[in-house]
Symmetry: C2
Subunit: 444 residues, 2 copies
């Protein structure tokens, strides 16, 4: 997963050369935020901070990388030599992973010498954007199917290796039980799920023989995939097989359905299993699932115990990116803002305060500048000082935070269509600062 310092946009390096040439290394403040939420997203969940801090703490430009940069012809030898000592020595404040947030609220602030704060932009966005995207998508499944077993099945169509691994992590953070991706289980300590594919059935001349062969080989982990040819006929074969397996001491834990009208099939299969005395055998489903399908299946009272959610989760298919940005908000002690059309930002070092009602539900945030305390909880906390990490937490701590925050979400924001908007107020002092910055730029 460590691809090194060159996993960046070229302009970070050309700008660095400019800053170096002109000795611009005073303190800069950048903040990362989402400009506006995608359609059908009423909230987002911050994720990826662990990897972001790891990236910052380990940032080096190796001699091998510097040698390659020299071959491009774009950089002077003295500038390249200066990169040998390049480290991240700045401060970072951030919302801990699992924090719910809204448009325009910074989830991470970097305060560092300008070249450092600039250079880290591309990979910081790359890391925080993706996990935030997936955690936010996964949370919608958690809301749609409370109490159900949710498993990430998305590796094959995730966008590459790192996406598969971080999607597993981010979906666990937002309430999933685990993942099918073995390496994600190993790397992040997640529960790994999985049993058989259709090819296992097809490789046998007879479906019932395939069930039996599989069960004998994995006596502790028997979930049988029953839709390869005919779902209900498959369920009937499971019923006929169960007594023989029982005599061998092998329990059938579940059947999996992967095609057709899952609600309809689940109902029929449940009846067949129950009638055959297999009331303990769970029904697990997969195949084209997303939060909307989960909601609809459960609204129809489909007797489904668990869901493998794949492609739609790992690609966040209905909203495959967030409109996020990492922007310079202050340099040399002077607040700055970008004013490009449709992309203006709030200047200065900001903080977000969140208030709750008496039942503990979120009732509104205030976006203001640092040093302007408001009622409520301050969401950005110190996570790095002088390049040293202050903050490390177990993934389960972040997961508990996410689940607790989902509980505190106002009811209207739990709706999957995301029509409601949460109130985020911009403070008078922040508005005044923005007006100051504009006046200064106009007079420049």
């Amino acid at each position: 997963m460590d691809n090194g310092a060159l996993l960046t946009d070229l302009y970070q390096l050309t700008m660095l050369q400019g800053y170096w040439r002109h000795g611009m290394r005073e303190t800069a403040v950048f903040e990362l935020f989402v400009r506006r939420l995608p359609e059908r997203r009423a909230f987002l969940i911050a994720a990826g901070l662990e990897q972001a801090l790891e990236f910052l703490a380990g940032l080096r430009i190796t001699s091998d990388e510097r040698d390659w940069l020299a071959t491009t012809g774009l950089f002077g030898a003295e500038f390249i030599e200066s990169l040998a000592d390049f480290r991240f020595t700045g401060d970072v404040d951030a919302m801990p992973e699992g924090t719910i947030f809204y448009a325009d609220e910074p989830i991470l602030r970097v305060v560092a010498p300008l070249p450092q704060a600039q250079f880290v932009e591309s990979r910081l966005i790359n890391l925080l954007h993706f996990q935030t995207l997936i955690a936010s998508k996964a949370a919608r499944c958690t809301l749609a199917a409370p109490g159900k077993l949710l498993v990430d099945f998305g590796m094959r169509r995730a966008h590459g290796a790192e996406a598969a691994l971080y999607a597993a992590r981010a979906s666990y953070l937002a309430g999933f039980a685990g993942t099918a991706t073995v390496l994600a289980g190993r790397r992040f300590g997640l529960q790994v799920y999985g049993t058989m594919a259709h090819s296992y059935i097809q490789a046998h001349d007879d479906e019932a023989a395939a069930f039996e062969s599989f069960a004998i080989a994995q006596p502790g982990n028997v979930t049988l995939l029953i839709d390869t040819y005919d779902t209900e006929a498959g369920a009937a074969k499971v019923v006929r097989l169960a007594p023989r397996l029982k005599r061998l001491g092998i329990p059938i834990r579940a059947v999996r359905l992967d095609s057709g009208d899952l609600g309809e099939h689940a109902r029929k299969v449940r009846a067949i299993l129950d009638e055959g005395g297999l009331t303990d055998v769970r029904i697990f489903t997969s195949g084209g699932l997303d939060e909307y399908v989960l909601r609809d299946l459960l609204a129809r009272d489909a007797p489904i115990d668990g869901f493998g959610v794949g492609t739609s989760l790992d690609t966040s298919a209905d909203a495959p990116y967030l409109d996020c940005a990492y922007k310079l908000e202050e340099y040399r002690g002077v607040a700055r803002r970008k004013r490009s059309e449709g992309k203006a930002t709030w200047p200065g070092r900001k903080q977000v305060y969140r208030r709750y009602d008496q039942a503990g539900r979120m009732r509104g945030d205030v976006l203001t500048i640092e040093g302007d305390p408001q009622d409520g909880e301050a969401l950005l906390v110190p996570v790095m000082r002088n390049g040293e990490r202050l903050h490390r937490e177990a993934l389960d701590v972040a997961r508990d935070r996410a689940l607790a925050q989902l509980e505190r979400l106002p009811d209207e924001l739990r709706d999957l269509d995301g029509a409601a908007r949460y109130p985020v107020t911009v403070s008078a002092r922040l508005r005044a600062l923005a007006a100051d910055v504009d006046r200064r730029v106009a007079n420049a």
Copy 2:
């Protein structure tokens, strides 16, 4: 990029344990194909074969990985020990990268002992799916903006590191000139593009001073971003700065616009530059671009020379995944097919033949079984035998193939709305084989 053998779905390993337990290691045939094209895609471009073959040739399950598998409690010790010798020793036939293909046409066939052919499924799909997705998206930009400079700008919102790198590769393959992602440039030998961000401008108290400082630091690579405050005012500053830079021997190559109505701004900026004698300065644009925006801008004759296409490209935003599958088509010499509702497959080892009209345009494909030669060009070629690679080609060879094939696309398939459907005929012999398989399963 090498994440090892455990970057897979758990069920591959549980199935392997089943095959091992029952001695099922006869020859299996799997094929990878796309079931149906996304809306607004009239064709796809095969990509990712280089990485797929590299994965197969290097596949090992290390002792460290086996030790970890033992800790899961899911696998027997003897089975885990057997994985020490696990290698891919099979045959692969595939469409070379850059080949245009359609629904149901296999782009890759694996013929290998069942456990091997099974195990490689998850990562093979993961590798081929993503690059094919992005090459197919990028080709639409190539069609929409013929002769324009196209650059991949998508790293920050690509889904992780590997997605960023492979998106750069796949978009180059489909006609892009290069990428902003430095590491992709290094790894794949691509031209790297990039100059400055808004933060560079903002870090200076004055926009004109920022332009000058940048130009002096990168005299050979001067593209100035002019939309931070007011695009046309930025263009006027470029005109005022140009004579001074000229005296220093520094040419301004281009300006970049990143916000607002790009067509309108480009027209005004072009006029300002031309009036100021800067007729050689190119206009490069970025910000929310995709093939539809490119088409519209060029339909309006916007005087734009190049485009940085980012998020929509690297996430294939309007179609973030393909409905692809890797299915068992034959085992122990007997053709197989999955019959799950809506997911039935064509059985057996297949080949695709493509015919062209007299002008060299594609006029129809035939999908048939191996050993049933048809008129036209056979698209699947041998790329691996007994685990040894037969096929290696430079990325530029694949790119030339893709560009040549785009030239041969029927006119109606070049339309970005993708309404037209290319004729793919299923041969009589393949239909007969499918009917045979169904009869056999029904009688089983």
